[in-house]
Amino acid sequence: MHRDLLKFMLFAAMILAAPLAFQGGYLMNVLVFVGINTMLAIGLNLLLGYCGQISLGHAGFFGLGAYLSGVLSTTYGWNPWQAMPLAAVVVGSLAFLIGFPILKLKGHYLAMATLGMGIIMYIVFNETIDLTGGPSGLSGIPNLSIGSLDFDSDVSSYYLIWSFTLATILLTLNLANSRVGRALRAVHDSEVAARVMGVNARLLKVQIFALSAVISSLAGSLYAHTMTFISPASFGFNFSIELLTMVVIGGLGSIYGSFLGAALLTLLPEFLRAAQDYDIIIYGGLLMLMVMFMPGGLVRGVPDLFRRLLKKGGDRHA
C-alpha cells in the first residue's frame, strides 16, 4: 500500500513539474488534452478493463457533460462551478437509468446497444439547434475561475485540468485495490462465481457504468470551459473508438495504463500532422497490432519486452 502511494506521489510530482520543463508554449496545450483524455480513458477502463463490460458510446457522455455545462453557463448564465457538478449528476443519473436495461446484455449485444446510445446522443447534439447551436457549435463558453484567477492561459488550464486528472487517478487507484475493485474484477472473470460469493453483479455493473459516465461528464465540462467552444464533431463515434483504443493500448485494467494510452494517442497525431486524415485508420491498425502482439497493453507489454530482451542477451552470454 505504501509503495502505491509513493508511486502516485512520484507521478504527481512529474506532472506538476512538467510546465517548468516546457516553459509554456504549444505543447502545454496538448498536455491539457492528455489530462482530459486520461480521465476519459480511466472512466472507460473501469467499465471495460475492470468489469469486462464494453461501451462504444462513451463519447456521448463526454459530449453531454460538455453541452450541459456549456449551455447552462453560456445561455443561462450559470457559474461554471455550479454547472459542472449539476451536469455530472444529470449524466450519472441518466447512465444509471440507461444502465439497468442495457447492461443485461452481453458481448456483441452490449456493444451494439452502447453504440446506438452514443449515436442518439450525437444526433441530439446536432439537432437541438436552439440549445446547442447544432453542427456549427456553441461558442463563448466562460472559463472556470477562482476569485480573480481565470483559467484561460495554457499554464493555468494545465494545472486546473491536471488537478482533476490526478484526483481521478488517486481515487480510482484506491477503488481498484479495494473490496469494490475486487468485486469488479470478479464479475469480469466469472460472473456466476462472483454472484455466488455475494456480489450483486447486476447492480455493480450499473453503478460502475454510472461512475464512468460521471467521470466522462466532468471531463466534458472541463473540456468545454477550457476550449470555450464545442461542436458535435468532437463527440461522435470516432471519438468513442479513439477512447477504446487508448484503453486497450495502455492496458485493460490498469489506471496508469490509461494515462499511457491517452498520452500516446493524444501526442501521436501532433507528430504525425501529415497523416491527420488517416487517424481512424492509424487507430484501427494500432488496435489490431496491440491485441495481436501486446494483449496486456503498454503497461504490461513493454516491461515484458525488456525482460525478454534482457533474458535473450543473458542467454547469449552464457
Binding site: L175, S178, R185, R195, M197, G198
Partner: protein
Amino acid sequence: MLEVSGITQIFGGVTALEDVSFSIRKGDITGVIGPNGAGKTTLFNIITGIYTQTAGRVVLNDTDVSGLPPEKLVRLGLVRTFQNIELFGGMSVLENVMVGLHTRSSSGLLACSLRMPWSRREEVRIRSGALKWLEFTGIADLAGVTAANLPFGKGRMLEIARALAAEPVIILMDEPAAGLNSQETLGLAQLIRRIRDLGITVVLVEHDMELVMDICDRIVVLNLGRKLTEGIPCEIQENHEVIAAYLGDDD
C-alpha cells in the same frame, strides 16, 4: 436444514429433473450420486439460485428460498463450488478468497475510493480473514500466485477456501475430487471432515465412490432426473437398483 420438494426442471423438451424431493440434516455430510446426466449439477444450480426451477420448492432453515438469486442465498449461509472450476483467473489466490468475504464486509464505492478509515480497517480484516482460510485449506504458500496459473488440484482447494470465507452454514460441492490424484483425494476427504467439524453442513456431488462411501453420512441417488433411492452408505452399496443404474451406464 435444507429441504427440496417436488423439484422439476424442463429445458426445452428435455426433462432434467422430475419431482425430486429429499431433505438434508444439519451437520451431515450428504452425498448426491448418480450416472452422468442424472441431473446432479442441475439440482445444485436450482438450489443455489442460478436456475429457476419449472416446479417445486427449496426450503432453507424453514424459509422458502425458491427463486432467490445466488447473491441473496449466500447471505442466508448457502455457498457452492463448481464442477468446472470457476476461479477469478486474473486475481491472486489471496484476492480470490478476499472476494469470498464480500458478504462479511460492507464498504461501498465512495468509501473505497476515498479510503475512509473504516474501509481501511475493514480491508485489514478482510485480508487476515482470507489468509486464515488459505491456511485452513493448506494453500497459504500460494497466496501471491495468479489463480489462472494454479495447478488443477490447488484450484479446487482455492474454490473451497473462497466458499468457506463466506462463513456458510451449508456448502454444496460439485465433484470436488474430479481431476485430483489419489494423494490429493485423501487430503480432500480430510478437509471435508474438518469442514463438517466446524459445524458446516456439507452436500457433495461426487463420482469417486470410495470417497463418497468413506465420508458420507447419507447418500441420495439420482438417475435420469429422478430420485432412485436414499439411505446410509452400506444400504446404497447393496441396493440392486443403484447397481443396475451404474452398470447400465459406462461407470
